[in-house]
């Protein structure tokens, strides 16, 4: 059923997972908060029309402990640039969600020639005191699923230990994903990306879950105004912060239609 390939590259000396599926022009995807501990239906949807390439980011599932040596924002951006290059995504269209969307936008800003079209699902990176994002790291454990997805079951299933997986290492890997996000975005989520948006020349699609409980939907406007390239904003009805998991078909269809 899920006939995807798994490759491993080395980023700063850490083994890094690259998933690949489908045919046609390349499209990269950088996962959101929590990463991709397992293959998800959204990826199948994108792979229907494109060669989908999904590199793991440092510290996120498939990214080993690569986050542990990244101390500055520049360290992070160089690691992401390196990962994309090794995944064969230089020059390709790029999509990202949440924390991954923020890094995709940064790469498009700093190295505009290496990114084709850009699709961003509720990116991190901004902080408005009057309308702050929800703090994902100060939550009771049982609150997280409902903050990440409109349907909390989707998050729970994605994060549940699969049959046969190491029952000690799996939960540690999920904490590591939250730690990696914290390492980039602690404490406010504010990387001052706003200052770099004008450098993004790519045509950009902004997608936001109608029920996003993490990133205020008004932030879409800040991105749309700031980005130099042409932007389109779409709201995904019935979706939460990780809209691609709540509504895989709709989100994939929006992205594929935009990328052309």
């Amino acid at each position: 059923m899920n006939e995807f390939e798994t490759l491993t590259v080395s980023v700063n000396g850490f083994p890094t997972r690259i998933w690949r599926k489908g045919s046609g022009p390349k499209l990269g995807f950088l996962a959101g908060y929590g990463g991709l501990p397992r293959w998800m239906p959204f990826l199948d949807e994108l792979a229907k029309a494109r060669t989908l390439i999904v590199p793991s980011l440092p510290g996120f599932p498939g990214g080993d402990r690569g986050h542990s040596i990244l101390d500055t924002h520049l360290d992070w951006l160089l690691a992401v640039r390196d990962t994309l290059d090794q995944a064969g995504l230089s020059g390709a269209d790029l999509a990202g969600s949440s924390v991954g969307a923020s890094l995709a936008a940064e790469v498009a800003a700093l190295w505009p020639a290496t990114v084709g079209k850009l699709a961003l699902i509720a990116p991190f990176g901004l902080f408005d005191e009057k309308n702050p994002p929800t703090d994902p790291w100060a939550q009771r454990g049982d609150a997280v699923p409902g903050l990440m997805c409109a349907d909390p079951e989707i998050w729970k299933v994605m994060k549940a230990t699969p049959e046969g997986a190491n029952s000690i290492e799996w939960p540690i890997e999920q904490v590591r994903a939250n730690e990696a996000a914290a390492r980039i975005f602690w404490p406010l989520g504010n990387t001052r990306i706003e200052k770099r948006l004008r450098l993004i020349k790519s045509p950009t699609l902004l997608l936001w879950g109608e029920q996003d409980k993490i990133m205020p939907r008004d932030y879409a406007e800040v991105f749309a105004k700031g980005i130099a390239g042409p932007t389109t904003t779409k709201i995904i009805v019935g979706a939460g912060h990780l809209a691609e998991h709540d509504k895989p078909a709709e989100v994939a269809q929006q992205i594929l239609a935009f990328m052309g």
């Binding site: 454990g141 939960p171 390492r183 602690w186």
Partner: protein, 426 residues
Amino acid sequence: MKLMWFHLMPYTELPEDFRDANPSVWVDIHSSLFDPKRAHLMYNDFMDELEYAAEVGFDAICVNEHHSNGYGLMPSPNLIASSLARRTSDTAICVMGNSLALYNPPTRVAEEFAMIDCISGGRLIAGFPVGTPMDTCYAYGTNPSQLRQRYMEAHDLVIRAWTERDTFAFNGRFNQQRYVNIWPRPVQNPHPPIWVPGGGSVETWRWCAEMNYVYCYLSYYGYKAGRATMDGFWAEMDRLGKDRNPYQAGFLQFVGVAESRQQAFDLYGEAAEYFYGRCLHVDPKWATPPGYTSEGSQRAGIESQVKKAADSAVRGKSTGERFAAVARGMNAIVANGYVIIGSPDEVAEQLREVATQLNVGHLMLLLQYGNMSKELTRYNTKLFAEQVMPKLKDVHASWTDHWWPKPMHASQRAEIPDFMPRLGAE
């Protein structure tokens, strides 16, 4: 053995319905609950209590650091310690301690501790805690993923600042300082003894063993719960081929002494229930910033739960998680061993057992807790000093304490004029 008198400086007037009406005693505790004029009296009472403990013969008086915390009013323990340095003469001053990663640059810790060591004539014990998640990650905004790396680097910087004779450049991952050259320098040579309070991670045990630092387990759950942690520390020391010198360990214990066990139960019940009920009421959302607990400790914690090991309630658990499982009624508080109560003989007997079973040479005693009044604190302290302390002096007598301050000789030390409060009539 050494008997040390520890103050947390809790705000003593949290309302009775605090637990129900407020989400947390820490991080987002509401400012409306804080009355600065009442705090004026509390601080002065607390400092009187510390000075009194020194006067009646405790080996050390101890203070610690917390932020945005309703049970710990010392964001800067160094301020209190410097005042204590002037109002005491021979007692060790234990600052337990400064959360190294929170100081920018961490050179500040080297400087302030050197000041206290100079003012006190070499009586300082330098505590280096990582700090709780609430203090470090939430109240102070430190990145949990970098906290331990920053702590280790700050430690190296402080040690170099104390020991290198010439101005040097510090080229760290997180701290760069072109000219490090602290004035003043510590009296104690090469530097004050270093004590490390830790939560029970293998990494911390190993580090204390290798660096020859005192490992302190400062839990609020008494000797029964502390046993597994201290056993773990000594097992690691054995594994590394180190001496089982009890003075390389410290342990915190709540105590209430009275004429009889029943009287102690009645006298200290309210204060203990105030502490365990109101002071440890922490919103679980502040418990686990990702990265704060090392992966090694997470692994040990999960394994210990799988095995239902004796330490499964604490291994790999953060401060907040431990608080959530705490008992709050006096019967359970005493039964669980959180607070040791009884007549002087009974308390001495129990503490002797704690010191021997846990192999601990430094007992840090909480004789004030919760909303305990100044009078009751004084009574507890006096009775302990007069009737418990003499019964414990022989414990661990065959060992030498290599981790105790080495002050200047009394004849070399400054004469501190007696403090003479002016009488109202003058």
